[in-house]
Amino acid sequence: MTSLTSALSNALAGLLVTSGQSAVVSRNITRASDPDYNKEKLTLTTNADGGVSSGALQRAANKQLSDALLNATSDSAGQKAILNAFSALSSTVGDVQADGSVAWGVDQLQQALQVSESDPSNITNASQVIAKAKSLAQILNDASKQVETVREQADSGMATSVNNINTLLAQFQKLDNALSSGTISPDQKAAAQDQSDAILKQLSQEIGIRTQSRADGSTAIYTDSGVTLYDRTPRTITFAPSLTLAATSNGNAVYADGVQIVGPNSPMPTKSGNIAAYAKVRDEVGPTYQNQLDEIARGLITTFAETDQGSPATNPDATGLFGYPGSPTVPAASTLSQGLAAQISVNSAFDSAVGGNPYLLRDGGANGSSYVYNTSSQSGFQTRLSSLIGAMTKPMTFDSATKLSTNYSIAGLSSASAGWVEQGRSDATAASTAADAVTSRATDALSRETGVNIDEEMSQLLALEKSYQAAAKIMTTVNSMLGDLMDSVR
């Protein structure tokens, strides 16, 4: 008799286990298209009497692969942010055949000077030089504005990142506390782990992270440089965004747990993720391009400055066609003067639109009679124009803060600067494509381990159906056997 009863109870246990497994299968299928969902599996336990019962709910996971994915995600997000910045800067260059780049503006000015030199008495030619100078100053102002915008966007991107990190860490704390409490049900635990993995993935977009699991189920989060972001409690990430970032301002640093994690002089700088990329754009890429523009502007102001024609000369050189707020003092030679590109303008004394005299460029004297070159008022005076053309094509010394060669003509520096931007964009494009490929591989690899294959689940469902049918058949068979027995007893 014992065996018939145990057959019945085993069949019943089989039914229960099968229905539990079908519940898991159905959950797997329902969430097959959720990228944050990890495949679950109900394990079976053999009882002392040889029967089965549902064991623990297993959640497919692979720490190595998920860590690889987190790294790849950080890298990919960061490279994309850098690429976006370079693309924005590249708009100041435009297609090589298009008009409107700084190099184009310099060339136009030089050509207008040459035309004016060929016929210095022609007022149209003289005005054309002033017009080209104005458009070049405008191009430099616009390019400088664009750099400022890119840096400001990076700064506000950092603020957004910091906000996101703080929010995500707060959410992570709730899940982490639940997971380490020990009172959580297996179903809840799997769901909480899915959610905390999703949070880590979002977090890794903002900043490069490493995680460490503790025995009680809690997880600690560090930046890729080793600064604690979360350990039982979240650390506060602080950052003071800047409203505007002119060429001369630097922007603030980001602190985690009191440690500076990005920005210049950071002891433990984070290397990947949005924050690191934004910091690189704001503190390295943007300022370098700005320095190049500023040096081009300084080159123009210096080249067109007027020299005292008296002999001996008693007055210092004074700014001519191109001016800036510090005019008429000529900016110091070979030294970067931050923000000049935003400030450069055409001296209104030359501009006939505001009552100026375009012939001042031919004659000199914008700074008084000591600076007049054309002393005998000859209408065809070429010396000044010729020397300006010579000065524009002659190499001058630029500050090494341009990160380019320090010895260029103005046109040379402006085309080298365009090349610098495009080199950066091309590098960033390659890096971003590579990082995307790595991310997609990592996603794929992790998904093979932890993702749901509907076909697999369906075939498992078929097996479950069969075993359910079999268990039911056993029950009916045992039932009829017991019935037969009862009949014979009666």
Binding site: G390, S415, V421
Partner: protein, 346 residues
């Protein structure tokens, strides 16, 4: 157990392949349409600066070709003016020779010099595109002032009066000896064409000529200057026969004036020939530079083309390959969508 690919990543990878195929196809189509790389700057990367320099050089070169053409036109205009002066000077030479022994020589040559003077002044004051070609750097004013009735004539009259003691129209001129006349012409008369007298009475031209830039660091002087001795000699000859007492002179003195004029006109013709040959060599330099610029332009254009342009055959083949690939992707996606166990379970 074999790990199957997860359904999600399977679908995502199909989607990614489709997207990538479409993006590549669009790029290839742009390249076929424009003949250049889809994103030239990205293709060039750091070489962008090199290509920008090429393009700037190209536009400079084009400008130098234009400037050279203009300079050549200007030189041609100068040559034409000089030719006309030279031709009328030659005619004047034969008129002088004829007038020397003709009975009405004095009246004849006076009127001839008068009309010659007008055409000479016009030729020296030739302008081209608003510039007076022979004015040097002072090219916005006609360089040569009108003699008759101007300060130049007054200065002459004063010089004549103070040397001979009577006015140039006075019949006493008949008493002037050839020696006196020669001394006057070589002395006070010649002084009228020197230094401050010259620039006050005759010419507002500056001695320096306008140069033409035909290359980055090469300039040429392709014009004549009204202050050239050739023009002074011409003026001396014309004014001498016109005003040095001519009309009342005795025949031997008249002949000495004619001799003087013949010699001055001769050196003027020679001088003008020299100016013309100078302008000619400047024109040669312009044309040499033009040939060089044209060659440089060709090289630059082909360099730009070879770095920025796509091979049209290759690009259109790529469009074909890619569109086949995208179609295949669609077909495979459709097939794979139906490849699910669900479709086979009843």
């Amino acid at each position: 157990m074999v790990n199957g690919v997860s359904t999600l990543s399977f679908q995502m990878s199909m989607l990614n392949n489709l997207k990538k195929g479409q993006t590549d196809l669009q790029k290839a189509q742009n390249e076929v349409a424009s003949g250049r790389y889809d994103d030239v700057n990205l293709q060039l990367g750091g070489n962008t600066s090199r290509n920008i320099s090429w393009r700037l050089d190209l536009s400079q070169t084009t400008q130098f070709i234009d400037l050279g053409t203009q300079a050549n036109d200007k030189a041609n205009a100068s040559q034409a003016a000089l030719d006309s002066i030279k031709n009328s000077a030659n005619t004047f030479l034969s008129t002088l020779a004829g007038a020397r022994s003709a009975s009405n020589g004095q009246t004849l040559i006076k009127s001839s010099a008068n009309s010659m003077m007008q055409s000479f002044q016009q030729a020296v004051n030739t302008s081209y595109a608003g510039q007076y070609l022979m004015g040097g750097l002072n090219n916005s004013n006609p360089p040569l002032a009108t003699y008759a009735g101007g300060s130049a004539e007054t200065s002459f009259d004063n010089a004549f009066q103070s040397y001979f003691g009577f006015a140039k129209t006075d019949p006493q001129a008949a008493n002037i000896t050839p020696t006196d006349m020669q001394a006057f012409l070589a002395g006070p008369f010649d002084d009228l064409f020197n230094g401050a007298n010259w620039s006050t009475d005759y010419s507002s031209a500056s001695d320096t000529n306008l140069t033409t830039r035909i290359d980055k660091s090469q300039t040429v002087d392709s014009s004549a200057n009204a202050n050239d001795p050739a023009f002074k000699n011409m003026l001396k000859a014309m004014i001498a026969v016109q005003d040095a007492g001519v009309g009342n002179l005795n025949s031997s003195t008249f002949q000495s004036v004619i001799d003087y004029a013949l010699s001055k006109t001769g050196s003027a013709v020679q001088g003008i020939g020299e100016i013309e040959s100078n302008i000619g060599s400047a024109q040669q330099a312009i044309s040499l530079a033009g040939t060089k610029h044209a060659a440089v332009k060709n090289v630059l254009e082909s360099q730009i083309q070879s770095t920025e342009d796509v091979d049209p055959t290759e690009a259109s083949m790529r469009v074909n390959t890619l569109s086949t690939q995208v179609e295949a992707n669609y077909a495979v996606t459709g097939k794979l969508q139906s490849l699910s166990l669900l479709n086979y379970l009843t």
